[in-house]
């Protein structure tokens, strides 16, 4: 490839907008991708990075705006067509088939067929070996992918992309699961790919990496484009400011009602990593929560926020350690039912997968975790159950035609209220909330904020995980920041600024 092609804009995305059920994920975003460069994209969780990449790689077809590839406007009908046009994406979760060989993975779906109509393994191995050589990876194309380390598997994915003659290679958080040495190898590889004229789109939230590898950086925030800069023009702090600096609208602000009594405390909570022996997903985290206090837990993707709550709730008794105290008394929690018996409730992040049973009625969903209170002489009483449900439907203003309605027919915000009602029905003293307003509309959000505030006012101790800075700053009385499983900072709500929180949340590269 001649040097004149380097620096040329290969792909231009113009005024891209995309909404999911009324919520704008991308709003008028424009972007240029240059050949032979590492085009980095950064932004908070929910800034719209993944949505944009899914549009560029053909996963989402219905968006507004246009994509121009090599001066020609194009609409992809699906990922296969994007691939044919030379755009390959390597997802954070690798897409390899573990029990197939490297060569079989690289040429999956495009196997070489011999004249006899059988798979020509020899040719496939030969071609794979050629590509692996280009990537400096010294492994036999015949080994099973499951036997490789994560870093090596990633290189196999890159080999797959190169076998497609990809000119644009999108990498989503490629360093999240690999060791420092493997990161060095990966960066070397990226540099040699760009030297060969490949355009690399690099998504990350590790800002230090940008200065090692990126040529340009584009910042997204709340689905909007904040700006694109050459990496030489900006400092670390500039990027942080671009990521968080948003206008504070009139946001709901919770009244401070914390009483001095500590209701809930955890010490040295650890959760070991099942994939990487000796590593921790949650690394010696401790905090306490007073009655009426809302403790905010902030962290970026992979910081271990959800895992921390899960560990406290008894979901990982085998891999975890640490001490949990309720009103000063140490308690042993080995299962969710233990946690519930001690008065702890856990509103999970993923409503569909972990919170609700879609086929069940509103009444059955609300009573599920405290069904014994609807029992009479050993049998369930629908009168008691409906009464309990109506009580919560009224208190939380759940919009449903009746308590017999199936929860799958409710809107996201009302489903979330049903989940919260289920937990309030267990009469908890400690409420763990994981992203309680994810994927619900603004009105429902405000109602949930008011509810959290009311519950705290009634003396409940609340721990709330959120990746939305304005939300956590408005609702929490204190904020703890997690980064790569460790506690990196603690602020009172008056001390905290978006920049100081974000700074503590961004992982510090160990090499620096």
């Amino acid at each position: 490839m001649s040097t004149s092609e380097i620096d040329k804009v290969v792909l231009r995305a113009g005024n891209i907008s995309k909404a999911f059920g009324g919520i704008k994920a991308l709003d008028d975003v424009s972007l240029e991708i240059c050949a032979g460069k590492v085009n980095a994209i950064v932004g908070e969780n929910g800034a719209g990075k993944s949505t944009l990449m899914k549009i560029l790689s053909g996963v989402y077809g219905d968006y507004k705006g246009q994509i121009v590839l090599d001066e020609g406007a194009i609409v992809f009908s699906g990922p296969a067509e994007a691939q044919d046009s030379g755009i390959a994406i390597i997802h954070q979760e690798l897409n390899l088939i573990p029990h197939l060989s490297v060569a079989e993975n690289v040429f999956l779906g495009r196997e070489f067929i011999s004249r006899a109509g059988l798979i020509d393994y020899r040719a496939m191995r030969r071609e794979t070996a050629k590509i692996l050589q280009r990537l400096d990876l010294d492994i036999d194309p015949r080994v099973e992918v499951s036997g490789l380390r994560v870093g090596q598997q990633q290189i196999v994915e890159i080999a797959h992309a190169l076998s497609l003659d990809a000119r644009i290679l999108i990498m989503d958080e490629p360093t999240s699961a690999i060791s420092d040495r493997e990161i060095e190898v990966l960066f070397g590889l990226i540099r040699s790919l760009t030297a060969q004229g490949v355009a690399v789109v690099y998504i990350t939230h590790k800002l230090d990496e940008l200065f090692q590898i990126a040529d340009t950086v584009t910042v997204l925030r709340d689905g909007k484009l904040v700006g694109s800069r050459d990496i030489d023009e900006v400092t670390h702090d500039d990027i942080v400011r671009m990521m968080v600096g948003r206008d504070m609208e009139d946001f709901f602000v919770k009244a401070e009602v914390a009483k001095p009594e500590v209701v809930f405390a955890v010490r040295d909570v650890c959760l070991s990593d099942t994939r990487l022996a000796g590593d921790y997903v949650v690394d010696h985290v401790g905090f306490e929560v007073k009655a009426g206090e809302v403790l905010g837990l902030f962290g970026l993707m992979g910081a271990g926020r959800t895992e921390l709550l899960e560990t406290i709730f008894g979901l990982h008794p085998e891999q975890s350690s640490g001490d949990i105290f309720l009103q000063g008394r140490q308690v042993e929690i080995d299962s969710p039912s233990d946690a519930i018996n001690f008065g702890i409730a856990f509103v999970t992040e993923d409503r569909k997968a972990e919170g609700l049973i879609p086929e069940m009625s509103v009444a059955a969903s609300i009573s599920l975790a405290s069904l014994e209170q609807t029992e009479r002489f050993g049998f369930l009483s629908s009168r008691l159950e409906n009464g309990l449900a109506r009580d919560y439907v009224g208190r939380l203003r759940i919009k449903t035609p009746s308590v017999r309605q199936k929860v799958e027919n409710l809107s996201g915000g009302n489903q979330q209220k049903v989940v919260i009602a289920k937990w309030l029905a267990t009469d908890p003293r400690v409420l763990l909330l994981d992203e309680p307003t994810r994927g619900i509309d603004v009105n429902a959000k405000n109602e949930i904020y008011r509810l959290i505030s009311d519950l705290a006012g009634a003396g409940m101790a609340i721990v709330m995980v959120s990746s939305e800075l304005p939300e956590i700053m408005a609702i929490a009385d204190r904020i703890i920041v997690l980064s790569e499983g460790r506690q990196t900072a603690e602020f009172t709500s008056s001390q905290a600024t978006e920049e100081s929180i974000m700074k503590a949340a961004i992982p510090q590269g160990q090499a620096v």
Binding site: S335, S337, G355
Partner: protein, 325 residues
Amino acid sequence: MLKLNDHKALLVKFQSLLALLLMVAVFSACAEGFFSTDNFWLILTQVSVNMCLSVGMTLVILTGGIDLSVGSILALSGAVMAGLLKNGVEIPAFNLFVGFTALGAILTGLLVGSFLGFFNGLMITLLKIPPFVATLAMMTIARGLTQLWTGGAAITGLGEVFAYIGTEDFCGVPVRVCTCAAIVGAAILVLGKTRFGRYIYAIGGNEQASRLSGLNVNRIKLRVYTIAGALSAVGGLIVTSKLDSATPIAGDGYELDSIAAVVIGGTSLSGGRGSVLGTVLGVLIIGVLNSGLIILRVPPFWQKVIKGCVILLAVAIDKLNTKEK
């Protein structure tokens, strides 16, 4: 508009019942002797074994599992009852002979069935073996044990007391039918009106959400498979008592009839959705079909083809209806 939708919803709700009535109507019109009190009682007694198995199967399938071992457990429990009653047990080490009354033999047989179901549950919950595989293994094991226990030959001559369940009437109703009715009633009550029943639906609907809501998923599954084993043993009791004979091939293939009945009754194989009442209809549909085809003298091989088609049709209609939503 609304009215049309209401009718449609009603139609969907009662599709199994409509199918059953339609079948009864068709056979009554073309099969002479089908529409008679005698034949209806005959059908009810004939479906009693499948009814027992299918109620247990419904519970299992509602949790999202499957139980392929019901036919073999039926055979082993029946054989244990017959063997103990006829021959007792000799314990040579103590130079002891233990004889069994009919009641003792029956209770022991029921215990054996329950234990095998419990064992299924242990494999599924503790070792995390998929239900299909765990119960497939049990199906083979229990069948082998039956052959060992019977020595490959039928055990017959079990006496009048033992024959009561399979051949006599209670207040004018065959005891088998009474037994089934009691089991069906208990199952409906348990599923609809107890925590255990609610939890069965919850686990099948979303196991992770159930676990997070504090449900002891393993304990509930263990109970469900134990009940399925116990109900298979009841099936074994009925078969053995009726025939006055326990054979090593008893109940062969019954697991498929029972899965078919559950599926025809509208219970979802992925769990969380279905009812015992639906299963009762499913069992009756298969029973009526068998009876009608026999009266019409349809050759046995064709009967199988037709039964298979009915299963496909039932599930296809159910799929189309749920997809519309």
